[in-house]
Amino acid sequence: MSDHMKLFEVFIRSRRGLDHKHVGSLHAEDAQQALEYARDVYTRRSEGVSIWVVNSSDIVASQEGDCESFYDPLDDKPYRHATHYQLPEEVNNM
């Protein structure tokens, strides 16, 4: 049956204020059903306060083979990295 069903990617926000994180994927007939299955498959131990489901086919992904043209040119622009700044103690999580 799951052969005919659509694939969805599941994102869960574990606490208010945090980002939605990708947790996995599942099969469902439609988005509403995917949301319910996401609840059963990925939030069994009360992991979340909010769930997003996205049609996997709607995700446009970069290819690993594109690394060279995509990311390598950024390596020689160190001024884009904030590594030369002294961070005040109070600023955590940078």
Partner: protein, 255 residues
């Protein structure tokens, strides 16, 4: 009601509701690893766990009232068929997926209304259990109603199976609304739910869903009852032999 009488009556009532939850939970758990696909398998077993958890709460409360050394396990594992007081619809074999979903839907509509009413019980323990159960039942109903629409308004095959299931189950639904002397006494005291009063709303919801799912509402004309008196279908004994096997073979076993 004198206090000892009322305590015993509430205990019996709690056991009835515990039996309903345990038996249906066990039937649902039989889908574990047999679900039509992985996601549904997990969802079904989640629902099964909700019911088994509900059974534990009702049984624990009954054991507390009994105060005779009984525990939740005493009620689940050491009573025979005739001592079980569940409604018959809950014990019917799981059948095919359409049958399990049709049963679930008919019972979920009932359970949600029932637990909403039990929240107003003057017995604070029963009201507290109901409070938790309402949230679960709301989700259960959302799922089972969704499957009614999907299967009923699905393929010729799924429609046919679901219609057959509803027809087979229909005669077991009048029992949901029967009120015997014990429940009447407790209902009058504001403790139990007057199940008969839930019927009109149940009929209305179910009729609307059946129509939306393009299913025929069965004509009725037959009904089976007896669960509340310990008179069961032939299926319960087989189910209990599996559910209770370990405690029967190794009494008092713990792990």
């Amino acid at each position: 009601m004198p206090e000892t009488r009322s305590k015993d009556a509430i205990k019996q009532y709690a056991i009835r509701l515990g039996d309903d939850a345990l038996v249906l939970g066990h039937r649902l758990s039989e889908w574990c690893s047999n679900g039509p696909f992985l996601e549904e398998d997990l969802a079904l077993t989640n629902v099964a766990l909700d019911f088994i958890g509900r059974a534990r709460m009702f049984y624990s409360y009954a054991a507390e009232l009994a105060a005779d050394g009984s525990t939740e396990d005493t009620y689940a594992y050491t009573r025979d068929c005739r001592d079980f007081r569940n409604l018959l619809i809950n014990e019917l074999p799981r059948g095919d997926f359409a049958f399990s979903m049709a049963r679930q839907y008919l019972v979920d509509v009932y359970n949600l209304a029932y637990m909403e009413a039990l929240r107003r019980s003057t017995d604070s323990s029963l009201a507290a259990i109901a409070e938790k159960a309402v949230k679960e039942s709301r989700y259960h109903l959302r799922r089972s109603r969704d499957w009614m629409l999907r299967l009923g308004d699905g393929t010729v095959e799924s429609h046919g199976r679901l219609q057959r299931a509803v027809d087979e189950l229909w005669g077991y639904t009048p029992e949901l609304f029967a009120v015997d002397a014990l429940e009447q006494e407790l209902a009058d005291a504001g403790i139990a739910v007057d199940a008969a009063s839930l019927r009109p709303a149940w009929e209305q919801s179910v009729t609307a869903t059946l129509a939306e799912a393009t299913l025929q509402r069965p004509a009725g004309g037959w009904e089976v009852s007896g669960g509340r008196r310990g008179i069961h279908t032939e299926s319960l004994g087989h189910m209990l032999s599996e559910l209770q096997f370990m405690q029967r073979a190794y009494p008092g076993l713990q792990w």
